[in-house]
Symmetry: D2
Subunit: 481 residues, 4 copies
């Protein structure tokens, strides 16, 4: 399912390129392939003969760049870009990235995917020393730290700054003469490097953006790496050796595009395997299998294949639903008005349906989809979730900050089944998830972060620890009642 | 595939409702479900206590109604609406429908899906008598004919006017006290009636719009019918008995949404059957089957099931591609830049792929998709088209007016295979198409218009006959050379 | 004072040119000089190699043509344009002029300043014969009448049509090969012809527009004339000989720009003479004379000069007041908040002030200005109006349709003085007005229409007669009470 | 004349209010009266229950606040606002004021009229210590200096910061609980305090804004003062005692509105006296006197009165000229096309005209206006300038930074007369200017800054000294050649 429906949001997609004509257009095209990672803001900074120019605004990429000239005006040979879903940082233009910084003698622009866990304490400390922040975004901290660093050169300053910030982050930094890319020590977020036919390097969140711009995949950026690209080529460095891969498992489950590969694993195929394992763990006595479009279709195919059941188009999603300002009233909604999803009566009528969804956050949409199928005549609906129950918040870049928002943190599986009015309900186990993704690494959980499922965070929580403890205590108290 | 890619465009979707609060919002929601039928203009006319108010503009529905108030301002209990792809009538606001007409003592608004074949001669005749046309659209003729009719009441005037116009048309007419819906004598375009829980009647192009607004399907409007809905209920009348069903087969093949039913036949299921029959008629020695998203997925599933091959996600379509002002340059395009479709390497690499598409018009995209799959590593690509070769123009509402635009009118199947660089190419036969749709009627071709495939038009061509003859002669001459 | 403040509005300014490069830009510049004649809509139709293209919209010229390209896109050698204040015809885009008409084989566009008195009955008659009107504007009638005329050529058709319409009108008509200009038989509205250095002819409402475009004044169009301009030059014809000049005296009093000449009389100079005669008829015991900016300054100078008193800047008008969306609340207004006019304390404090205004319509602003001066410390305010009391409606193109709106129709001069809280109040006599303007003609009232002052309309009122009788009866009854 | 025509621009108008409902609307109205001080950007910051919200944008106030809601959305009891003409700081939204600053625990917004002379060196110094600037505007320096101050409370921090910056400045600072207003030690820019009927204090650039909002004038802010307004009332303090009044004489000559009083002197009356003294110093053998609208009208009246000549309306300015995107082409301009000014032929024809202008900067418009009058038939044109020749740049807030731009710095009076094609040319002397303004003070030049006329700057030039020396050397060298 798509972000407007599921209340689970990735904060960002990032894209950068150095050394190719029409860099802003290429960045637009790359970001267009990453639009699923953020729909609330977008921006591009171009390097025009050493001068940085930024255009950014609210909404989809097509809202911000709303005429053919909008990109053509950003002439230059290098660029970075960003699509954004807001987590930290409220709804101000100043928070839309790339964040541009103009000094008397130089310029910077920053784009960031992730969430810093010690942003609040760094900001407080620096403001006490006279610093002025442009934005309310955690991203800006890195710029202040770079400028305050006493290291002798920019490479050293950037490294020093990266060692101070904590959490999940993939950063792009562009200056008049170079492009940096940096990944946090756990590699929570994906970041890949590719190369255009003309030799120019591209760095971006997902391989689907490499494909979109015609770039060849070169390598996945590793935890703790600092990449520098300039007119002399590419340099790979480590700003820290204290690293351990724990990439966000939700990238495989829901966020990433099915055609992307992450650390060599194709996302669609991983999802198909999740679906297949789900069929083994949570079989159902049914006639057909259908998925919630679009993100659950791969898992549904895998389930159908493994279960030996027909894979069907039981639900249709309106292709134009990315933007509408007009919503049904509550009254209309109750009368069955639905602008985004429709059940295909001719397919589901009289059938026992396995409905595969990728994950459940608040559970509000699950209930609506089950109803949609039953109203269309489904004989029974067996809801199968191709991931484990989401029970803990994430502090590394996914927009769930309180367990209280998560239905699985508050209810048993049987309670959820009743709430959704499903005939049966089953989730994938954490072990099967790890096996389905199957990263080639010896890191714990085979390199996956599964903290939202088991609560075992791979790093300290810093500024969030108190809030987390309070949240857990409340949850515990609620369950006692 | 979607209209931006395939140069094959339906002109319109229409929606009307009488006797329910918030009629404009409901019409918006209905049109939103019909947006696939026209993306270049949209409008709504509301009846506010007997006064008609119209808002219309260029672009998607969300462009025209670009704020929550845009619909809220159209307060009233009845409304008609229109989404438009332009055929006849150039790019002027005056041509966006509904067309509003204000007389000293009354008002009308018209919305129309289809194409009139005698519009030019009617207009010339009326202008010679002093008539002034607002628009360059063929739709307006009906209004003039109604006003010039000497029949004693409006019912009679509308019927008289409907008997003068020729071609394919589904019309909605709203006045201060009623809503008319009329279908041409061949029923070239779909038109259905439904009913809301509160009893109000809805009339619209496809059943998917009924589902979207929570209305129950009542009946398909029949060729030659004139429906009247007012505060006393619904009246079904015939303005002519000289009728014979020949609904556009492209509605089943490509235009209509998979969740719609037309004359009782579910579109997705019909497409699945086309795919299955295609597998029998045009088998291929392959490993996987994949469809061109979104319109060919049903046929691809049917092909895979019938062929006993795995159905796979070999191509991914960018969900945000409905609107972008920025395009790759020709240079970038040649470097493999693609903003709308991506091949999933992890799926197709090394595989012999059956690629199912619903139809081929100009053939330009077919070539690009075959290349996309081969670049992603497909061992071979067997292109299968779930409809017969398009060889003749349409004059009843599809935007193909010259055979010279159609690749299949100009090339043999083997020539096309070479042009597309496919390893093999096969089309569905006309007979199988008719069997797959399988309408319950004794009309010729089981009620389907297949003139684009066989050139046998079910009506005279009137104003288009000369142009058609010239076009065919040119084609013939070209082949002789 | 300016139209936003005084509720007295001219409907239109018109401008046309034939045979010069960049005709739309010239028309824009001409209309810009006529903007004071209408601020609610504007449009330009250009003739591009025989094809007519129209751009029109709501608001000021600068709102409609809101980018440098807006005019550049209208490429062509001939054009007509219009600025509009709405009288007849409600607030619809369709009513913004020029009104474009597209026939199968030809095109027209019409621009009109004035008001037809038999528009309603013509429309009713034509609609009964099947005619469809685009707009609710009275302007459109002429087009229908031209098309319905049986005269053998266009010249004859236009003349026939002009003889059917009644009231005040200056019309411009552009076609693929000519430009017509026509004036009503009374010449209610001004219309002049000029010539550019390159020989091209210009026709427009006021000579200030000729000056703005660098054209030399040639002649005033006479009542009943039909001018034709085409590639062969200019032709002057009469469509009727039953004419008698009675140009609207409000053009001299208030509407026209001070730098314009009408029938050889400079408007500023005429106003100065009105002021001078007012000083003789209505002297005042005072220290200084000040005018209400901007339209009353000429009369105030004349008054000061004749009275031998210093002319002073006692009031200042905000230069930016043409457009603001933000208004003071009623509460703020009562606290003395004023966004448009300020009194200059340093000038008026302790002084006995003669305040000259050009005319009084509803009287609401007069009261406010007297208060403004007194709050600024004026010892006394002697209000002098450089025109007679407005007591009757106008049906020839000024937006006063009911005597009940006119304070002077409802109150004696002493009552008005008390309402305005002025220390004295005096108006100019009708005789002095006629003498001050002093047109060189033997027509009654020396060619001026003074019907708003004396109720003697120079033509029948046609469709308005009943309404006028009712209005006068009400007024009479109100006075009886 | 108005700023679009004369290349002489004030940077700003500022307005602040504390403790009244609907503070943003009042600020809008106040800024509307100050719009003549800056047309390129505008903004308002409102204090909504202690939270600051800012809306700002490019263009006129009516462009930024382009709907009734635009101000209504800024709900609060205190506000500051700014209209801007850019000097220092390029064309970026970040430079539009008020500049908002958000700290973790507090907020500020700054609005500034003037120009700092040591901004560049302060910025460099602070950036070297790690500071990051939001804008390229000199205004921002104050915020950094306040935050870096070690003073124990905000009052002290603000004072410390004000003592570091140099140049001409009137600052408004709003926080959650107070409003500061500060004036530079020379009082280069005007700043006044008034009080609303409800007791709330207003501080703004000119008294015309007090009149506009219905506030009573209380006092002129004195050089070196720091005013604090909060819920307990108003506090007047000095941040330095090293002060000496030298207010910009161009405020009296050209910038300020005629209805404003500065240090007790009415601007219109001062201009009238300049005109009268000019008549004595530079008499002319002429028939009439006319001024260039609007800023020279007062001086023209004074000249006419003193010379005993009739004051006439020889030039008319288009009231709508504040905004147009369409300009005459160079070709049209040469044909006499003029969109902003017209000569009144009926007035000037055959007359010997004294043309009074307030000042001459580049001289381009003077030449055009003389030509306009002669083309309209003036027998001779005697150009009289109601101020001394502008020969030196200004560094305190007027946009002339190079003497090379000034025609009077490069040419003798006779040379200028020839360039303008005037029959005679005369300027006011510096002594008469000082006498005409006649401020009640013992400061040098009676408290006026006349450095643009005599080159004697009342303060060191700091960062501008080098540039000034280079400019003067070039000028000297050019004259030697």
């Amino acid at each position: 399912m798509q972000s407007e429906v599921k209340s689970l949001n990735e904060e960002c997609g990032i894209f950068g390129v150095w050394g190719t004509p029409d860099a802003a257009r290429l960045t637009y095209i790359g970001l267009f392939a990453l639009q699923h990672r953020g729909q609330e803001g977008a921006g591009i900074t171009v390097n025009h003969d050493g001068e940085l120019r930024t255009k950014r605004g609210f909404g989809l990429l097509t809202d911000v760049f709303d005429s053919p000239n909008a990109v053509a005006n950003l002439d230059g040979d290098a660029a970075i870009g960003h699509v954004r879903y807001s987590t930290a940082g409220s709804n101000l233009l100043e928070n839309i990235q790339p964040l541009p910084f103009n000094f008397s003698d130089t310029q910077f622009a920053l784009a960031h995917n992730g969430n810093l866990t010690n942003a609040i304490s760094i900001r407080k400390q620096l403001e006490d020393r006279g610093a002025i922040y442009h934005s309310s975004s955690d991203t800006e901290n890195l710029m202040h730290l770079i400028r305050l660093s006493q290291a002798p050169d920019l490479d050293g300053q950037v490294k020093e700054a990266l060692n101070i910030i904590k959490g999940g982050f993939a950063y792009l930094i562009i200056t008049k003469d170079r492009l940096y890319a940096a990944l946090d020590p756990n590699g929570f977020r994906p970041l890949v490097v590719g190369q255009l036919p003309n030799g120019a390097y591209v760095v971006c969140s997902e391989t689907c953006a490499l494909d979109a711009v015609g770039a060849k995949f070169k390598f996945d950026v590793q935890p703790g790496q600092l990449i520098k690209i300039d007119d002399t080529g590419i340099t790979i460095d480590q700003y820290t050796d204290d690293t351990q891969l724990s990439i966000c498992s939700m990238e495989f489950i829901y966020f990433a595009r099915p055609d992307s590969d992450i650390y060599g694993v194709n996302v669609h195929s991983a999802r198909k395997r999740m679906g297949a394992m789900l069929a083994k763990e949570q079989p159902a006595d049914a006639d057909i299998v259908t998925g919630v479009p679009n993100s659950s279709l791969s898992a549904a195919m895998g389930y159908a294949e493994a279960a030996g059941l027909p894979y069907e188009m039981g639900l249709v999603k309106n292709q134009y639903s990315a933007r509408t300002f007009i919503e049904p009233t509550q009254e209309l909604r109750e009368q069955g008005v639905n602008m985004k999803l429709s059940a295909v009566k001719g397919v589901v009528k009289g059938k026992r349906v396995v409905l595969v969804d990728d994950s459940i956050v608040r559970g509000t949409t699950s209930r609506r989809i089950v109803k949609l199928l039953k109203d269309a005549g489904a004989a029974s609906v067996h809801l199968r979730i191709a991931s484990p129950p989401l029970r803990y918040p994430c502090f590394y870049g996914i927009d769930i900050q309180h367990a209280s928002e998560l239905i699985a943190a508050n209810h048993s599986i049987e309670e959820m089944r009743q709430i959704f009015d499903a005939d049966s309900l089953g989730f994938l186990s954490v072990d099967s998830l790890i096996k389905a993704v199957n990263l080639k690494t010896n890191a714990p959980n085979k390199g996956l972060c599964v903290a939202y499922f088991d609560g075992k965070y791979p790093t300290p929580l810093y500024d969030y620890q108190k809030e987390y403890d309070r949240d857990q205590a409340q949850l515990h108290a609620a369950k006692m009642r």
